[in-house]
């Protein structure tokens, strides 16, 4: 790849654009900022599509009463029970129990606060889903 080949296909990177070290016309290496690359945009779209699909599936289950709102917030932050358990300092099997409505409803205020602080929200917001 040379300087003229650096892709400029656009993307939603903000200040985080891709940087490539490529030779310019004289063969000296320069750092070039790229606005994005189409194949990568496709891969990213695919990924975020699947994330939002999974989240919609979880939300449906929460509405049906199969899962607790905690499961929704956990999935919204792309976590699983293992990681969430590390954040709140509980064993994984207990977190898994709280993902069901019965376990979630039996939580006391202290535990709810701990979960809410992981997601930077209030206890009221934790009990709600959109």
């Amino acid at each position: 790849m040379e300087k003229k080949d650096v892709p400029m296909d656009g993307g939603k990177y903000g200040g985080f654009s891709h940087k490539y070290y490529v030779p310019d016309e004289n063969g000296d290496y320069v750092r070039v900022l790229s606005s994005g690359w189409e194949p990568l945009n496709i891969a990213n779209d695919k990924f975020w599509e699947s994330v939002s699909e999974d989240l919609a599936g979880v939300l449906e289950k929460v509405k049906k009463g199969e899962l607790s709102p905690l499961a929704y917030h956990m999935n919204r932050h792309m976590m699983d029970a293992k990681v969430l358990a590390q954040y709140v300092g509980l064993p994984r099997w207990r977190v898994k129990r709280h993902l069901k409505p019965r376990g979630f409803n039996s939580l006391d205020d202290e535990a709810l606060k701990r979960y809410a602080s992981v997601f930077n929200i209030t206890v009221e917001q934790l009990k709600e889903t959109p």
């Binding site: 939603k12 990177y13 903000g14 490539y20 690359w37 496709i42 891969a43 990924f47 930077n120």
Partner: protein, 338 residues
């Protein structure tokens, strides 16, 4: 050996990869002029590993660089720079230690979770726990941040920074912070470059383990052929997209770090005066382009499975070809540096 911090203000340097970028940036601010590719090369950053049993968000881990923290340790050892490295159990203590250090005017490198940093754009916001950045000062509870992969200087509140530094999960950073405490008067780059290249060649062709190095690339190529039946029609574009993202997303400098390594070899040729590195650099660049070719064809499959001539056999062939070329390249490099 004394610490010669430049009296000037902190200079923000934009880089392609977070770890080599922050090390290069720190060293430059302490008077050792190094570029990012040079740090990447001396730190033996280039690697390949296909760890299908380690899951990263339910996807197999495909690594194109060595373990987080390795580049820093290798560079420090080979350039004779001493780094002070701290980790913490208690988040409050970790933040207090950071405060004390930056209040003394020392820019500090820290490792943090990408997900919790507020200035990161949504498209790259996922649980990656080994993002390196530099804190160079603070205004009360707002920390001044020079993120090497971000084009501008940013700020981050104490609460957010604490959360990011003490995030949990795989590769949890445990609030690690580091800064150079002792820099040599003059740095000899020749042996450092030699050792850096030597380690890469050793790991890539001499380690008899089928998941890493060139052997790992071959394993990856063979595994790729079986992906459609293993993961099913519906899920396989997701896995392929993941492979492309691991290879090309921010921080890799393109082609799974191969393009950056080519830049390093080019610089090595200038520093050592050895023209053989120039040819190696060109070959490495061609290999990097071939990896990008893989991403290009892979993305087509991701988008539309029925397109002509693009299938997993072809992808596998591209990667096998890369493996062959890389093997020859490391072999020739080994002859130069041994």
């Amino acid at each position: 050996m004394t610490l010669k911090k430049k009296d000037k203000d902190f200079i923000h340097r934009i880089s392609a990869h977070c770890e080599s970028g922050s090390i290069a940036s720190l060293l430059c601010n302490y008077g050792i002029e190094v570029s990012e590719p040079l740090v990447f090369g001396i730190g033996s950053g280039l690697f390949f590993g296909y760890f299908s049993y380690i899951k990263m968000m339910e996807m197999p881990l495909i690594a194109f660089r060595n373990m987080p923290g390795k580049i820093m340790k290798n560079t420090a050892k080979r350039l004779g720079v001493r780094f002070e490295i701290f980790t913490f159990k208690d988040p409050e203590k970790g933040m207090d230690a950071l405060d004390r250090t930056i209040d003394r005017g020392i820019p500090v490198g820290i490792r943090a979770g990408l997900y919790w940093l507020p200035y990161v754009p949504d498209i790259v916001r996922f649980h990656f726990n080994a993002h390196n950045l530099i804190v160079y000062g603070r205004n009360g509870n707002d920390y001044l941040i020079s993120d090497p992969v971000c084009e501008v200087l940013t700020v981050c509140s104490r609460k957010d920074l604490m959360k990011a530094r003490f995030c949990k999960g795989a590769m949890a950073p445990k609030g690690v912070m580091y800064y150079p405490s002792d820099t040599p008067d003059n740095v000899d780059f020749l042996p450092a470059i030699r050792k850096g290249i030597k380690e890469v060649c050793h790991v890539m062709i001499h380690v008899p383990f089928p998941l890493i190095g060139v052997w790992g690339i071959k394993t990856y190529a063979k595994a790729l052929k079986k992906w459609p039946e293993k993961y099913g029609e519906r899920r396989v574009p997701l896995y392929l997209g993941h492979a492309i993202r691991m290879q090309e997303e921010i921080g890799t400098g393109g082609g799974g770090f191969r393009l950056m390594y080519a830049a390093f070899l080019h610089e090595a040729a200038h520093i050592t005066g050895d023209d053989r590195y120039l040819e190696m650099s060109k070959r490495m660049m061609a290999i990097g382009d071939e990896w990008r070719e893989f991403a290009l064809h892979g993305a087509r499959i991701c988008k539309n499975r029925a397109s002509d001539g693009d299938n997993f056999d072809r992808l596998s062939d591209i990667i096998l070809d890369c493996a062959g070329k890389e093997y020859q390249l490391y072999k020739d490099l080994w002859e130069i540096v041994r």
